[in-house]
């Protein structure tokens, strides 16, 4: 009798076929949750990266009060060696934004609107130094980096990504624990048969091959079912959520490399489950004479 995952049929039937096994369900549920959490985590990490990339070198200029200061400021920035581009925000666009809060009154009210401009720095430029120079020359002008404005959001998203990574580790540990219990249950359910085989000279490797094959199949079936269910949820819930980043990134929420990572996850879980089962079985068998 050869050891391994593929013993011949005459040996496979040495263990009875148990229709009501828990391992596929456990692995399936874990795979489903891991994939959904993993996809959410990858999306968050991607969003953080996109936002960081989009904010890199971009600054916002705001000038309040005298319109002449706005013109001076724009001219000063355009002449500054650190600046690649200064793009004033048209007043019409400001009023359009205001309309979201004030309604049609935003067009008629005589509100003192600040002058705004998007400023793009050259790569490696010291924007903070320029902001200080500008502030000294024109006190009404405020130059703020997008990164600084987005910092609280980025910190929250990074924290969320860390939580997701932690969750995945916890899920892997939970899977290992559940598979350990399932392996022990399988051994216990087949204890009488395994004792007979052991007594007539079966080696640990032979017994391991029989039980491990069953657990490996359970893990693969569970992973496949869990992955299919997760794929549905990801397609229906996560992919449409890319609208959250509209205007910041044109990249899909889950790129090809992200999807590849997610596709590999069920296989990794099945492999983890099989390895944990093997280790549990080895330890349990080694406890007998």
């Amino acid at each position: 009798m050869k050891a391994g995952l593929f013993p011949p049929p005459s040996l496979r039937r040495l263990l009875p076929d148990q229709r009501r096994r828990s391992a596929p369900w456990i692995v399936g549920l874990m795979t489903f949750v891991s994939l959904v959490v993993g996809a959410a985590g990858i999306s968050v990490i991607g969003a953080v990266r996109d936002l960081q990339g989009a904010a890199e070198g971009r600054w916002s200029l705001q000038v309040t009060g005298i319109p002449a200061d706005a013109a001076r400021t724009t001219a000063m920035l355009a002449a500054a060696p650190e600046v690649a581009e200064v793009k004033p925000v048209p007043e019409a666009e400001l009023r359009k934004t205001l309309r979201q809060w004030l309604g049609p009154a935003a067009d008629t009210l005589d509100l003192p609107l600040p002058a705004l401009a998007d400023v793009t720095m050259k790569s490696g430029a010291d924007g903070a130094a320029l902001a200080r120079r500008l502030q000294a020359a024109i006190p009404a002008a405020h130059l703020t980096s997008y990164s600084a404005e987005l910092r609280p959001l980025l910190a929250t998203l990074q924290g969320l990504a860390l939580v997701v990574v932690g969750l995945l580790v916890v899920l892997a540990a939970a899977l290992a624990g559940a598979v350990t219990l399932a392996a022990r249950a399988t051994l216990e359910a087949n204890r009488a048969t395994l004792d007979v085989l052991h007594g007539i000279g079966a080696t640990d490797a032979q017994l391991l091959g029989l039980v491990q094959r069953r657990l490996a199949i359970d893990a693969l079936v569970g992973s496949a079912v869990g992955a299919l269910a997760a794929a549905l949820v990801i397609a229906l819930a996560l992919i449409p959520a890319r609208g959250l980043l509209a205007g910041w990134s044109e990249r899909p929420l889950l790129g090809p490399s992200d999807l590849l990572l997610l596709i590999l996850l069920p296989f990794a879980q099945a492999a983890l489950a099989t390895l944990v089962a093997r280790w549990t079985l080895q330890r349990t068998l080694a406890a007998a004479l």
Binding site: L11, G199, I200, A202
Partner: protein, 220 residues
Amino acid sequence: MLAGLDFRLAPGSFYFLTGPSGAGKTSLLKLLYLAQRPTRGRIRLFGTELAEAPREALPAFRRRIGVVFQDFRLVRHLSAFDNVALPLRIAGESDKDVEAPVREMLAWVGLADRASARPPTLSGGEQQRVAIARAVIARPELLVADEPTGNVDAAMANRLISLFGALNRLGTTVVVATHDLSLIASVPGARLMRLEQGRLADPTGELRHPPARPGLEASA
């Protein structure tokens, strides 16, 4: 509990192990078929010291021992055929090579027409015969049987003991634990081991000094 045991089994001999219930017969047999290790002492089997041998080394020795358990220990979901075939399959024989010897053995124990029956559908006597067929199918060098005729009628008991005798004549050392002293007379030349309160009586000294040739030794 066994204590003070010191004996050697002559290879190719036939032993009956007797003694009252609780005397330690099953415990001694377990030591012989490597289901237990002695808490102290040594067991030398097939020329190898096995009391402290690594557990990885034991399966190879177990394959050289046939065991008939008192409670049969048949695999319930396997047919009589597959139960008898187990030792051969464990030893790596192909399905093709297993077919003929298993059929022959089933015929020998009178179960040729019950080959596909599963243990729960067999009577106690039939199960016992399957267990015996499984124990002897691989021509073991040592056959250990715990009350092997307890569930069969006298005629079948004699037939089974004569099967053991035939194996013994081929060189297998046989140890049969039994309460049925009438069986002893059915095997010419068989020796008697008597256990009482965990100690082995050896009035003739034959167990301590069997005919020369390395055999099975145990001391505890």
